[in-house]
Structure formats: structure tokens, C-alpha cells
């Protein structure tokens, strides 16, 4: 009987492999599972600053006031926020870039990241596109991008003429933990939880195997918009490619060193615009107010009919609020 069982196993496996191997791909070949990055594909628009190469695009007249968009993550990209390019038709020079190690920008080792490094990248992006010293510069950040915008004005309050913060996930470690606990509750028995964890036995990826790790993170995104999610995310939104090393790098920094982007915000006198989505049960006016309290002058606005991904799903409601704010400061 033992021989029969072993023979049956060998036969089943042989048939499966011979029938199934009409197409063979390499797991770590660039372009097979995730798009190539700017250093692998020269046709992608990019800029070289601060020792890296960033995927970047601009819209509008370069002499108009600049609006630099900062995407979420860390590790996400600006594809789902391209609605904001409408601001170019409103008289602004709109700049999008995928942050270091994110989207289609060049990848770096996980242990190479620091807060100051990405602030320096932003300084480099502004300097690259700014056409005169009198040109006004506004930052428009979403989620992690809003945290990064806050970190920037906390460090360089005199350089920025206005800031739009769409649901920053925590301006210091304490607030980040509070928001994380509220927004990422796990039901151990749910499909979304299985979808998130079960793949760990199929795909692992070593620390800087970017193709595998970025792909794995990309296909995990369904967890964020699972039915009944607390952040009120309506469904999938487009992205180019996730950046796992940068995410893990900043998780390490947050856990090991902590962070606080609020230490110098009282030096920033300009009014700051806070946006929160009506459907995000984890954020809401209460959390927005808690974050806005760190600024001397803040305006809090609710975006109706949407949640955390407000720029993609309800841009028509975000746009007039943002435009009024920018026009006030223009």
C-alpha cells in the first residue's frame, strides 16, 4: 500500500506540473509582478535630487503658486490623488512626486531611511521646480503625506505659505498609536484577516527583495477597503507600486525612536486647513481637533460622503474647500 500511495502522489504532482508549466516566470525579474521603477525604465518621468531618482510630474504654469502634493503611506504613491491636478486649471503649479522608495521612485535599503532624509528630498523637489524666490509654496498632504507636511513646517516654518492636511494619521507617536488602534481593528475570523495573513506561507521575500515585497504589499491592499472598514474606504483605488522597504524603515523608526512633529508648530502663524472624511469612524472632528490644537491657526472642514480616501472618491467635495483655502492665501 505504501508504494501505491507514493506512486499516486508522484503521478499527481507530475501531471499537475507538466500541464501547468506552459508559462514560466521569474519571481524577482523586474516588471513581472510590479512595474519597473524610474531607474529601471527611462521612459518614466523623473527628477534626480538628493542622491536619489524620483518619479515626478507637474501640471500648470510653472510661474504660478506651487502646490506640492505629498502622498500617503509611507510607501504608497500619488496615482490615486491625480484628481488634485485640477488645481492647475485654477491657477496653480501642481507638483506630484512619489517619495523616496515609493511608487515608481528608486528603491533603497530599508535601513537607509530617516525623517530628515525625506524632508531633504522635499526641499530638493521644491528647489527643483521653483522658478523664483517670490513664488509661493503650498503643501497638500494626505495621510502620511499630511504628517510629512507637518514635519516640514515644524522644521522649516518660514518656507511654506500654506498647508492642507487631509487626515494625518498622527502628528506624534502617541497620536499615531491612537489612530492605529482605532482604525486597524482585526477580526481574527474574518475573510479580510485571512486575506492579509494567509499569503505569508506563499510569498516571503527577504529584507530588500523589493519586487517580491512590494508586490506582496500591493495585493494586501484589499484589507484597507474590506467591507465595514472603520476608515470608510469605499473600495479599491489605483496605485502604481507599493514601497515596502520604506514603510518598514519608518515603522522601525517610529517604534525604536518615536517621533514628534509638533515641537515647533507654534512658530507657524499661517492658517492650516484640516480635512476629515465624514465616513471615517476612526478620525472625525474629535481627532482632527486634537491634531489641529498644535497649530496656532487651523481651519477644520468635514468632507461629506466619503472616508479616508477622500481625494480619490469625493474630489468634487474636496476641491472647493481646498481651492477656497488656497485662494485666500494666494
Amino acid at each position: 500500500m505504501k508504494n501505491k500511495v507514493l506512486s499516486a502522489i508522484a503521478m499527481a504532482v507530475s501531471v499537475f506540473f507538466f500541464l501547468g508549466c506552459e508559462e514560466e516566470n521569474s519571481i524577482d525579474q523586474p516588471g513581472n509582478l510590479v512595474p519597473k521603477t524610474v531607474d529601471q525604465d527611462s521612459s518614466i518621468p523623473s527628477i534626480s535630487i538628493n542622491g536619489t531618482q524620483l518619479h515626478a510630474e507637474t501640471f500648470g504654469n510653472p510661474n504660478n503658486p506651487m502646490v506640492v502634493f505629498l502622498h500617503g503611506g509611507p510607501g504608497s504613491d500619488y496615482r490615486s490623488s491625480l484628481n488634485a491636478k485640477d488645481l492647475a486649471d485654477d491657477g496653480y503649479y501642481v507638483i506630484f512626486y512619489d517619495q523616496r522608495g515609493s511608487g515608481l521612485s528608486k528603491r533603497h535599503d530599508q535601513n537607509s531611511y530617516s525623517i530628515q532624509l525625506v524632508l531633504d528630498d522635499l526641499t530638493g523637489v521644491i528647489a527643483h521646480y521653483r522658478t523664483s524666490n517670490t513664488q509661493k509654496v503650498f503643501l497638500f498632504g494626505h495621510s502620511w503625506g499630511a504628517m510629512l507636511a507637518t514635519a516640514y513646517v515644524n522644521t522649516y516654518p518660514a518656507l511654506i505659505n500654506g498647508v492642507i492636511l487631509a487626515e494625518p494619521g498622527g502628528l506624534n507617536k502617541k497620536l499615531l498609536d491612537e489612530y492605529g488602534e482605532s482604525s486597524r481593528k482585526l477580526n481574527l475570523f474574518s475573510e479580510a484577516t485571512s486575506d492579509l495573513f494567509y499569503m505569508d506561507q506563499f510569498l516571503t521575500g527577504k529584507e530588500n527583495e523589493h519586487e517580491i515585497l512590494d508586490y506582496k504589499m500591493g495585493i494586501s491592499t484589499s484589507f484597507s477597503y474590506a467591507k465595514g472598514n472603520d476608515e470608510g474606504i469605499e473600495g479599491p483605488s489605483p496605485f502604481w507600486r507599493m514601497g515596502t522597504a520604506v514603510l518598514n524603515g519608518f515603522i522601525d523608526i517610529a517604534e525604536n525612536d518615536g517621533f514628534d512633529f509638533t515641537t515647533n508648530l507654534t512658530q507657524y502663524d499661517t492658517k492650516v486647513l484640516f480635512l476629515f472624511g465624514e465616513m471615517n469612524k476612526s478620525y472625525g472632528y474629535h481627532f482632527a481637533r486634537k491634531e489641529a490644537m498644535y497649530f496656532r491657526n487651523a481651519q477644520i472642514e468635514e468632507v461629506k460622503g466619503t472616508g479616508h480616501e477622500m481625494i480619490y472618491f469625493k474630489w468634487e467635495n474636496v476641491h472647493p474647500i481646498v481651492l477656497n483655502y488656497l485662494n485666500e492665501l494666494k
Binding site: E23, F189, T193, S194, D200, Q201, F202, L203, T204
Partner: protein
């Protein structure tokens, strides 16, 4: 890699390299006339899972069982995430109540989410060293689980994100995890109640799965 090489890799892995998540057996409580072991288990292993298994004891000089099992991840869609295993366990060496056991399995498993469906052939292997008495046992285990070859089929949500993504078989191996932990159990009449727990690490020993632990509660019923 050509199919024959994949097959050879799989078989070599199965018969020379592997050992892990097998039925948890108290060899000392297994009577000579007991040939069949039915198993049910639940716990956390890359998700909350429920499983059943069957083992057949061979009439060999060295105690040995052939076994098969299936487990499903919990969730609203039951059949999209599951794992089947077939293989065997052997009680290789005994010194009084100390036993050294080994297990090897071939694995077929499936994962589905809104973006992709993965099918994988892999293998696992476990070495178990423990102290066994007729009524109870306690052991340590060390194992390795290799995802040898995986088939990817992407759904529209992901092809909208990246139209040039490749479907089909991918190689070389797409994953591999080590595990180490403890197992123990209490035996009575024809039954065993067993518990396994431990830690999981990826093969580079630098990274871990999102939940780097496993926990399994099992029940065996032995028949003649």
C-alpha cells in the same frame, strides 16, 4: 526552470529535506492494534484555521504512519484559502522514554483575495524530540516549510493597476519559513488532546510573517 526540474526539486524536498506541521501523535499511547488515527484541529497558522486529518499506521519494524490532512482559513469564503498535505511520520529513534521523530509532507495550497489567486506546491519537514509516556508527552519541534512553485492568476483589480503583470507559474521558490516550538498532549482511552505552539521566521532569519506565531489545538481518535 523546466517542469522536470521543478518535479525533481519537489521530490527531493519531500523525501530528503522536509519535516513540520504533521498530526501531533503520542507514540507511546498508540497501541499495536490501532491502525487508524482521525484528527481534528484548530488554531492560528497564517490565519485562523480549521483542519481535519487521517493517519494510517503501517506494519513496519520502525513505527511509521502515512497521513493526509486538509485545513481551511476562516472567513466568509471558505474554499478560497486552504492547504492540503500528504506525507508521513516516523518514530526514528528511542532511548527509554525519549523519542526522535521526523515527518515529511508534500503540500498543495491555495490563496485567494480580490486581487489574485495563488496555487502553490510546496513541502514541509519537521524534527521532533520529546519525552513520551502512555498518558502524556512533551516535545520540542523544528521545521521548515518551502513554497516551491506558485501559480499566479490576477483579477481585474490588479490588472487595472498593472496591465503588464504576468500570470502563470513562477520560480524559483517564492517563499520559505522556519518554525520552532513545543508540542504536548494528554492521552486517555482512544483519544489524545494535543497542543502545539511556536514561532515562525522567514528563511533569511531577518524578517517574520505579519503574525510570527502558530498555535494549534488538536484532538486524535484512534481506531483498530
Amino acid at each position: 526552470m523546466k517542469p522536470i526540474l521543478i518535479l525533481i526539486t519537489f521530490l527531493i524536498s519531500l523525501f530528503t529535506f522536509n519535516i513540520l506541521h504533521s498530526q501531533t501523535i503520542n507514540w507511546k499511547s498508540l497501541q499495536n492494534e490501532q491502525k487508524h488515527i482521525l484528527n481534528a484541529n484548530t488554531g492560528w497558522e497564517y490565519g485562523f484555521v480549521y483542519g481535519i486529518g487521517y493517519a494510517y499506521r503501517l506494519e513496519t519494524k520502525i513505527p511509521m504512519v502515512l497521513e493526509g490532512s486538509v485545513s481551511f482559513a476562516s472567513g466568509e469564503v471558505i474554499l478560497d484559502d486552504f492547504k492540503t498535505k500528504i506525507g508521513g511520520q516516523i518514530n526514528l529513534y528511542q532511548i527509554e522514554n525519549f523519542n526522535f521523530n521526523a515527518a515529511v509532507h508534500g503540500i498543495y495550497r491555495r490563496y485567494g483575495n480580490p486581487l489574485v489567486t495563488l496555487q502553490n506546491f510546496g513541502a514541509d519537514a519537521t524534527a521532533i524530540i520529546g519525552y513520551y509516556k502512555p498518558k502524556w508527552f512533551a516535545a520540542g519541534e523544528f521545521g521548515f516549510d518551502k513554497a516551491i512553485v506558485t501559480h499566479f492568476k490576477h483579477a481585474d483589480i490588479y490588472t487595472d493597476v498593472y496591465p503588464d503583470v504576468k500570470n502563470g507559474w513562477f520560480e524559483p521558490a517564492t517563499g520559505g519559513n522556519f518554525n520552532f516550538g513545543i508540542q504536548g498532549g494528554y492521552s486517555f482511552n482512544r483519544s489524545d488532546i494535543t497542543l502545539r505552539a511556536g514561532k515562525v521566521m522567514t528563511e533569511d532569519f531577518k524578517t517574520s510573517p505579519l503574525v510570527p506565531f502558530y498555535l494549534q489545538l488538536g484532538y486524535n481518535y484512534k481506531l483498530d
